[in-house]
Structure formats: structure tokens, C-alpha cells
Symmetry: C2
Subunit: 400 residues, 2 copies
């Protein structure tokens, strides 16, 4: 089942041209934009040329179905982009899926279907198209979601007009494989070519507020201050120390948003609200981290005569990848790049999160140069793109 790297790269660049923007290989192709719909129409044409049956579902996710009644593997990702995105992101997984399905058709190989989910980048929600398909997000609920400009999902998907058919029956598929750029620096930094995803990490996210006493920054002695920024800084330090015994090198946590009040040079800040987000592939570890976070915040506030308030916690559970599919990807990776691949978690959400509700699912990563993504500068070496394609094809053949 020989894939054609040149044809694959040509298609990848052809898709990039639809919505090409910004600098370098930048792309602006958000869900339901003219460029997004044009890209899906182009893709439907390429699917048909490859002998697949193009089919839009009610929310614009485009399937290229393997012909006939036989069950097939489903490969793919998404072709919508961030408001300012790179050329690979989901597009890579869609075009790699197309090339593998095409090669399978040509070689009389195993039946392979292709998908480009709609709105993975979350103009309206989080991995919207695959979340709806998986049943996790009811369509009626999704229709009421609005983008930052106030457009509803119902109005946005109406732009697809009569392209749309019914939802595709998930029972047609034996499993889902998604190839994606890593979007992080791990593979690039280690000089490795491939990552076989063990799990898509779970996320916990909440806003914490420390309230002390706003005061004059000249007349309030250090010893009498209840400075909310100082409490935040002490919390941050204690967190790193206490997490040390609990986390793995793959665990991450981030204070990305900080809002001081009144946020003035000459005033001791009386209030600090900040985001606390943590991610890990293990739900129990996420829970232990939450305990530490709540304990330290309470200790810091008690010691400083301050109050501490926890906002509602967002929770997305970790999703383990299917053992059988993972093993096939691992064998293919070792054959393609011996010793130059690793098992790793995905720190970002992907459509595979939702597909895993319906069928066995797994993911393959290729390196992101400098770990950069969601940016015009996002890129991956051509050799790594092809290496990923070949690994995906090997795994599909292996699973046959």
C-alpha cells in the first residue's frame, strides 16, 4: 500500500492556498468562513477523485466514505483553523488521511474513510463538530452557542446550505486514527520524529481570588500589609514545591491570567484574581493536585489574614487512547524511525477525544518546529511530515 509523498505534499499546499494569509505559511480559515467552506468543497472533490463518497453532516463535518457497505477505519482531523493559524494543525491529519485512503483504494488495500470535522478550533465551543457527532454536545444546545461576534451556531452552519445530509452512523467505523502536529516542543527538542499518544490529558481550570487590604504604598509598613500580589507570589512558589512529589515531567500547570485591584503603582493591591489551570493524563493526579491547590491557597490566606475564593472548576477528563491502535502506531513508528519516537500524552484537546466516545481511537504526533502552533509561524520539516504519513499508512496496513 505505497503512499505518494509528492501528491500528499501537493495537496497539503493546495489546501494551504485556500485562506492563505498573514506571513509565511499562515492560514486564516476559521469554521464556516468562506475559505473554510471553499476548502471543504475542494476536499470533497479530492475525496471523490480518490474513489471515496463525500458526505457533509448537518454541522459541516465532511466525511469521505469508503465505498460499499464494508466497515472501515476512519482517519482524519479538521481543516478549519484558528483566527490566525498555521498551515498544518488539523489540515495535516486530513490530507494524510486522504493520501492513505487514496493509496488504499489504489492498492486494493483495507477500506479507509476520511473525515474533516468542523469547528475543532472552537469558534462556537470546544471541538464542536466532533463533540456533536459523538453525542457529547446535543445539536439543539449547540445551535444556541454564539461566537465572540454574537453569531449563533445555527446561523453559521446554515451557510453550508444543501450540502448537508444526515449524521454518519459511527457503527460504520472500526476505529479512528488522527495524525497531528505536536503543538509543543518535546519532539523537536529531543530530535525525535514521531510521538504515539498514550492519552489526551484532562484539564482542570478555575479562577482563584485572594482578598487582603488595599492600602497606601507609602504609608503602610511591610509588616502590616495584606498584599494580594504577595499572597499570589507565595502561593505560586509553594505550589511548585508541594507539586514536586506528585507530578510527572508531562504534568503542566499554568497561572496565565492575573488581575490585580486596583492595579496602581502607589497602592498595595487589595485583591488578586488569577487563573489556575492544570493538566495531566491521570484523573487521580488531577484530583491530588486540586487538593494541594486548595490547601495551599487556604493556608496562605489564613497566615496572612486574607480571604480566598474559588470560582467554579472546569473539568475535562483524561481520555486514554485505545491499546490496540496505539500498539499498531508504535510498531509502525519503530519501523519508520527506529529509536527516534516516544510514547507521550497530548497536552491539547483533539477530535480524537470525542471519537473515543464512539470507537477505539488513537493519535500520532509529528514535531512542531520550536513547539510553535496557533501562529502563522507554525511549521514542521518536510521529512517529518512524510515520516508521519508513512507511519500512519504502515499502521493502517498492520491493522488490516
Amino acid at each position: 500500500m505505497p503512499v505518494n509523498p509528492d501528491r500528499f505534499l501537493q495537496d497539503l499546499h493546495a489546501l494551504r492556498a485556500i485562506g492563505a494569509s498573514g506571513v509565511g505559511k499562515g492560514v486564516v480559515r476559521p469554521a464556516f468562513s468562506e475559505a473554510d467552506i471553499a476548502a471543504r468543497d475542494w476536499l470533497a472533490g479530492r475525496m471523490a477523485e480518490a474513489g471515496l463518497e463525500p458526505h457533509f453532516d448537518p454541522v459541516g463535518s465532511l466525511f469521505g466514505l469508503s465505498p460499499g457497505a464494508e466497515r472501515s477505519l476512519l482517519l482524519g482531523s479538521h481543516s478549519d483553523s484558528q483566527p490566525e493559524g498555521g498551515w498544518l494543525d488539523g489540515a495535516l491529519g486530513v490530507i494524510a488521511a486522504l493520501e492513505v485512503a487514496r493509496a488504499a483504494q489504489e492498492a486494493g488495500g483495507p477500506p479507509v474513510s476520511v473525515v474533516s470535522f468542523e469547528d475543532e478550533e472552537g469558534r462556537f465551543g470546544v471541538t464542536t463538530g466532533s463533540a456533536i457527532w459523538s453525542g457529547h454536545l446535543p445539536l439543539a444546545e449547540a445551535d444556541g452557542l454564539t461566537d465572540p461576534a454574537g453569531v449563533t451556531f445555527a446561523d453559521a452552519r446554515a451557510a453550508l446550505g444543501d450540502r448537508r445530509g444526515d449524521f454518519v452512523d459511527p457503527a460504520r467505523f472500526t476505529g479512528f486514527l488522527e495524525m497531528h502536529i505536536e503543538q509543543g516542543p518535546t519532539l523537536d527538542t529531543a530530535g525525535e520524529a514521531l510521538g504515539v499518544v498514550e492519552a489526551i490529558v484532562g484539564i482542570r481550570d478555575m479562577t482563584i481570588t485572594f482578598a487582603g487590604q488595599q492600602n497606601h504604598a507609602g504609608t503602610t509598613p511591610m509588616a502590616l500589609r495584606r498584599d494580594a500580589f504577595q499572597a499570589l507570589s507565595a502561593f505560586n512558589l509553594a505550589l511548585a514545591e508541594r507539586f514536586a512529589n506528585v507530578v510527572t515531567p508531562a504534568t503542566v500547570w499554568t497561572i496565565g491570567h492575573v488581575s490585580l485591584h486596583p492595579n496602581a503603582h502607589s497602592i498595595v493591591p487589595g485583591r488578586a484574581s488569577f487563573s489556575m489551570q492544570w493538566r495531566d493524563g491521570d484523573a487521580d493526579r488531577l484530583r491530588r493536585m486540586e487538593e494541594i491547590i486548595r490547601d495551599i491557597a487556604a493556608e496562605i490566606c489564613a497566615a496572612r489574614g486574607m480571604t480566598c475564593e474559588f470560582g467554579p472548576m472546569l473539568g475535562l477528563e483524561p481520555v486514554a487512547m485505545d491499546e490496540g491502535l496505539r500498539a499498531a502506531l508504535a510498531r509502525a513508528a519503530e519501523a519508520e524511525a527506529p529509536g527516534r519516537w516516544r510514547h507521550m500524552p497530548s497536552g491539547a484537546l483533539h477530535d480524537a477525544t470525542n471519537a473515543a466516545r464512539l470507537m477505539p481511537a488513537a493519535m500520532l504526533f509529528v514535531p512542531s518546529i520550536g513547539g510553535i502552533s496557533h501562529d502563522f509561524a507554525e511549521d514542521t520539516a518536510e521529512a517529518d511530515l512524510v515520516s508521519g504519513l508513512r507511519t500512519l499508512a504502515r499502521a493502517v496496513a498492520d491493522l488490516d
Copy 2:
């Protein structure tokens, strides 16, 4: 030279009634507002009744001059308020000065003049009226200053019309004494009645920016992050450790403003800009602190592969209070409240900063309940107000 506490308190409440606002004893009487000008007209009347000669200078600072050619002490402060202010702040020092001058007139005591400087609270600058009088801020330059609404100082002071005369010759005065609320919690916390100010602290203030790498908060391992908030937190901690050998209990430093970029839950912050302000009565200590700040910032950034940028530094030099006047206040404080007073710096700027350019100057503090000021809730126990008045009168008599 017996002062009259009842008359003093009555005048203080009469002044409070002009611009009374908000809750409790709150006052809204910003510089050049109708309430501010009405208060100055009322004050001029009280000065005349006390046998003083009222005189407005070109910027609205109101003097009550001791009659005759003899040189006199000058006592006072300011009667303008913050946009939302308390009833005491500068008003206390003006009414205490009025009562002492009145008592001196009645008792045939030493000649005492009174002043209420204009715009101490900085609608247009910093201690604007006394800064102009002292020559530190040229009038032509001040006239170009604008308030947050875009009104020029020139237009604002025109509201005083033909009240205004020439600037008062500073050579008329032998020294300046300013009584003021502490605006901090030191005296209140210690249960002390009086503070004799040793120096008005100097201020250094600059914005520092740490620039690292903005990244995806899910896909970027902790070890590969260049997180600007983490750098700020580490800087803050190192600062406290390294300052420990340099500062005194009166030294203060504040990070009151923090701005992260892009300030989002799911993004490792790539940039942190923050305010670094420090205050002390000793210029050499301020300089040593600056060295530590610059050293630590550079070390933190170097260790983390980040860049660090220092904005322009605002510098106001410390102003030592006059030895002779201080000693007189200290003797009076010990007589009035034996063992219940202290020498202390002023962490806030005051009109005495400017007066000290022209003549010997000193300040006396009374407690602020809970350290609160620049707030409707600002207050001081009546016994402490009277204790301050008596101490000021004792010092004036002592200096005769």
C-alpha cells in the same frame, strides 16, 4: 497660649460641611471645584476674624498672614481633597494652624501665619500649589498641565478670579510646621498618639518588563517554558530575601501593577510588565535597593533565557525635617503624651516637602484609625485630634 479644642473641632466640622459627600464623614472637595473655592472663601473669613490678613496667591494657595512686618512661623497644610476623600487629610493641619494662630493672637503670643496650599492632592501635578510657591515647578510650566478630563491648570486657576494677589515672599517666614494624619497604621497599631516626622521619604518608581515565550499551556512542558509570570514571582521572592540586609522596618516596596500578555488561562504568559516602587528616608538606601532590583531582574532573565527591560525611573529625593523644629515637636509630644509618641518617617509626600526648599520645615502626625485615608472612611479619634492641636501649640510656644 491656651488653644480652644471646642472651637477647633467646630471649625473642622464646619469645613467638612463644605463638600460633604459619600458616606460617613466623606468629603469631595478637589482643587478648584466649587466646594474647594467656597471652603477657601470661608477660611479667609475665619482668618480675618482671627486677626490674620487673608491673601490668595496666583494659584489659589490661601495665606492668613500675621499682621505687621514681623517675621512669623508658618503653619498649615491644604484644604483640597481627593476626588473621594476623608474629612481630615490636609484640612486638619489647616484648622489646627488657624486655631494656634488665633490663640497666639488672643494671648499676645508669637506671630503665627497660616496657609492652605492649593491642589496638594495632585489634580494637576504632585503637591502643585506648594511646588509652584517653592520654585520647584515654574508657573508657566504648571499652566500647561491638564487634569484627567483635559482641563488645563491655567483655566482651572482662572476660576479664582480677582481673589488672587502676588506670591507671598517666603522670607516672611522663619519656618513651616505641618500637622497631618499619618495615613498609615503605625501609630494606631502601636496605640500611640503622636508621630514626629524625621524625613519625608524619597520615592523610586519604574516599570520593568520580562519577556519570555508565549506558549500553549497544554503542550509546553514545564521544563521548556519561559513563563514571564514565573519570572516575576521568582523576582519578587528574591527581592524580599536580598532586601533583608539593606532595609529598615520603615522601608517599603510595592509591586502594585501587573500586566501579563496575553493574559489568558490556556496560554503560558510571554510577557509581564509590572511596577516596582520603593520608598525610604535615606537616598543611599534607595540607591542600594535600585542596584539589587536591577541585579536580580538581570539574573532572573539570564537564568531563564528571557529579556528584561527597565522603564524610565521616577525619582523624588528624601527630605529631612529641620533638626530644631523636630526637637521642639518632640519636646511638645513628650509633654502632651509621655511615652506615647515616636519619631517616624512620612511615607507619603506632603506640602512640607516643598516648604523645606524655602525654610526649616517639620511635621507632626496624629493616628489614622485603621490606617485608612483617601477614603470616605478616614477618621481619627477626637482625643487624638486635640492632642495633636495641643502639641502643635506647645511647640510654637517653645520656639518663641
